[in-house]
């Protein structure tokens, strides 16, 4: 399924990107990148395609994103007030938060006792999924496009036919004594 072709609101996209970047941080795409905080080297969830994955109708969060973005920025504004932070009002409140405060707020929102926990955990789950498995792309295409998440985790690429095979897979020798009660069928007694 492909995302709907609606007019994308830059503030909405920036807010989602800032959340995804808090989950799996990455390098700024340009010096004036506000959404990606630049807290880590290499591509993070944003470069990995978190927004593309989240915007897919089949994922289940796309319809809720407007409301999640609104709520997240509301929480961010409240957080800034509570912590005496002055935010740049030229960008959404969550985007305006420095990285360490974005992190602290995401911790609060995903804590077991938070009433909206499930929603924020789902947003984190999808952000992470874009990074570690490129769930919006075929895995072969992800490799062809040098997907930053699969490269970062060191996932071995498939054979030319798109299938994975590992002819070398075993140390090939006994490496521990068997449990003394093992049955003749190889089961626990």
């Amino acid at each position: 399924m492909q995302p709907d072709n609606h007019d994308v609101d830059p503030a909405r996209t920036a807010t989602i990107e800032a959340y995804a970047d808090t989950v799996v941080p990455g390098a700024k795409r340009s010096p004036d990148d506000r959404a990606v905080a630049g807290a880590a080297l290499g591509g993070g969830a944003v470069a990995a395609g978190a927004v593309e994955l989240l915007e897919q109708p089949g994922g289940g969060l796309a319809e809720a994103l407007d409301s999640m973005v609104y709520t997240l920025n509301d929480h961010a504004a409240g957080y800034a007030t509570a912590h005496g932070l002055a935010l740049d009002d030229g960008v959404p409140a969550f985007v305006a938060l420095p990285f360490e405060h974005r992190t602290a707020l995401v911790l609060e929102l995903t804590a077991p006792e938070h009433p909206e926990k499930q929603m924020w955990v789902a947003l984190a789950l999808f952000s992470n999924m874009a990074f570690d498995s490129a769930a919006h792309l075929t895995t072969a295409d992800a490799f062809a496009n040098r997907h930053p998440g699969l490269l970062t985790i060191g996932y071995f690429p498939p054979d030319a036919d798109g299938l994975f095979r590992f002819p070398q897979y075993s140390y090939g020798r006994a490496l521990a004594p068997l449990h003394p009660q093992t049955t003749v069928t190889g089961d626990p007694a």
């Binding site: 799996v24 880590a40 999924m129 498995s133 004594p177």
Partner: protein, 545 residues
């Protein structure tokens, strides 16, 4: 559009419980209809692809509950298509467990000795084979070496994988492309079809109602083949007998939804759910220590760095499967592979100074992903799961078009359950942090609760009507003609992978189910050989039937 058909037996679900029942009943002469809510895929359709919409997300279900999340199969073949095919028998002490009910949980008629001939039937049918060290993948070898280094034992686990056909791709959760994994698509199900059973994929049973003649009407909806959130036509099938095998996360939900018509369900329907005491730890190995301390190296010169290579769990440590230990202190530890996508988010950074499951330190941990080793605990939990009111349809509110939903299960681990988890966490640390081999942390339970790939006991057998939904013949108490043969019938945690025990219990139930069908006027006989025609195990059980 609603149409009504009729048949002798409707089987709900096509995993171990459903496939075994469908085979024996069809082979014995009954008209059998199998309703499976997931799709029907074959080897050439199983892709090595994480994309949403690939076979991986079509055949697999992840239902988030309140305190417990369940991973399971959602396709023809059920769990057998997505599982890792590790098939040990449950240790003897498991059948003597008392749990929290103050009496033996299992029916008096079932012990390891009485179940062994039925285990034999399944191991012949799939088949299940003893494994050799020579073909254990790197991750299993590494865990074995670490166990030995810590003065412990380790065993290659019995498996239903034909290792000569296996390419060690570790894509078993998406279905086996090479038919090396002996799923039900290769034995019981084709044999059932050959005997005339009909399997209908994408048919989700919603509820049962009772007919005037003592039979049952099965009400289903047709599921959209791409977007499972969309349900199409409804239909009804009348049957003289119903086999309910929709899985531990769905069987009790169907019965709960049926209660307004069928009448009161036994107290244990939707209660006593067990997550098989499951818990996960992730270790990040120090490659230099693996080489220096354990003396391991691969042909390419690396010591390990092979998390991705293999076929799920292949080596287990059974040192704590000791019947003389107190209940809740016994567990097995198994090396496990968990693919990216769902599992990595829950792995925690050992000794994190900031957030443990996301953020800067987690990204650094992800860079070492090939040096991860996941250790899977199967312990004795306290059957503390309870299902709340059923959702409108199915067993979950579906969030994504496939795979992801939230369900009504509530699970609050007791101190007993935590005792096993804590002891196993300590054992994993003892094995893998010794001499600096690795850094270890358990998965967080804070995001989606505890986590099981082996849901059990939500509609269990037993001798005590107050604490079991089924009698020892798997018939639903107070509702004659409804039998439950899936993992929900298992009384409690098994301390090992449960598929073989689920299947053995289904095999054991079959003579009684065939008798019940005959009493309801179905022309059927018990006595089919293994699906490939082998007869040794049938001959062995004959005296007990």
């Amino acid at each position: 559009m609603t149409s009504t058909e009729s048949t002798d037996v409707v089987v709900i679900g096509s995993g171990f419980g459903g496939a075994i029942a469908a085979y024996h009943l069809a082979a014995g002469g009954a008209r059998v209809l199998v309703l499976e809510r997931g799709p029907w895929l074959q080897a050439e359709e199983f892709e090595h692809d994480f994309k949403l919409g690939s076979s991986y997300t079509r055949v697999f279900d992840f239902v988030v509950g309140d305190g417990m999340s369940i991973l399971g199969g959602n396709c023809v073949g059920g769990g057998s298509v997505v599982y890792f095919a590790t098939m040990p028998r449950a240790p003897r002490f498991v059948f003597e467990r008392r749990g929290s009910i103050g009496r033996r949980m299992w029916p008096a008629s079932i012990t390891r000795d009485t179940l062994d001939p039925w285990y034999d039937r399944v191991t012949e049918a799939l088949p299940v084979t003893r494994q050799s060290w020579e073909k254990v993948p790197y991750a299993g070898g590494l865990f074995a070496a670490a166990c030995a280094h810590a003065g412990r034992t380790a065993n290659p686990s019995p498996s239903a994988v034909d290792v000569d056909e296996c390419v060690n791709c570790n894509w078993m959760m998406a279905g086996c492309r090479f038919d090396a994994k002996r799923s039900l698509l290769l034995n019981y199900l084709p044999a059932a079809v050959a005997h005339g059973a009909e399997i209908r994929p994408l048919h989700e049973v919603q509820r049962l109602t009772r007919l005037a003649d003592g039979g049952y009407r099965v009400h289903y909806r047709v599921v959209d083949e791409e977007d499972y959130r969309i349900l199409h036509d409804s239909g009804e099938i009348d049957a003289k007998l119903v086999i309910l095998a929709a899985g531990s996360g769905a069987t009790p939900v169907i019965l709960q939804r049926s209660e307004p018509d069928l009448g009161r369900m036994p107290h244990a329907v939707g209660r006593y759910f067990s997550g098989n005491g499951e818990r996960l730890n992730t270790a990040i190995l120090d490659e230099d220590k693996v080489r220096d301390v354990l003396g391991l190296s691969r042909p390419d010169g690396s010591a390990y760095a092979a998390y991705q290579i293999g076929r799920g769990p292949t080596v287990a440590s059974w040192d704590r499967l000791d019947g003389s230990l107190p209940e809740y202190e016994r567990f097995s530890l198994e090396q496990l592979y968990f693919p990216p996508g769902l599992g990595t988010i829950l792995a925690q950074v050992p000794g994190a100074t900031g957030p443990s499951w996301f953020g800067l330190e987690k990204k650094e941990m992800l860079r070492q992903w090939q040096s991860w080793l996941t250790i899977f605990t199967m312990s004795e939990d306290d059957n503390e799961g309870v299902f709340g009111p059923p959702p409108e349809t199915g067993n979950a509110h579906r969030l994504s078009m496939q795979m992801l939903g939230d369900g009504p299960l509530r699970y609050r681990p007791t101190a007993n359950t935590w005792r096993g988890w804590s002891l196993s966490d300590a054992a994993v640390k003892d094995i893998l942090e010794r001499d600096g081999l690795a850094r270890v942390a358990p998965w967080t339970n804070d995001l989606v609760g505890a986590y099981t790939v082996h849901p059990l006991a939500s509609c269990r057998i037993g001798d005590d009507p107050a604490t079991s939904a089924l009698d020892d013949r798997h018939e639903l108490r107070g509702h004659p003609g409804i039998f439950v043969t899936d993992g929900s019938a298992v009384p409690g945690a098994l301390t090992v992978n449960p598929a073989l025990t689920i299947a053995a219990l289904a095999e054991r139930a079959m003579p009684g189910i065939v008798r019940a069908a005959r009493e309801r006027g179905v022309a059927v006989q018990y006595g089919a050989p293994a699906p490939d025609g082998s007869t040794a195990a049938r001959v062995a059980v004959a005296p007990t039937v």
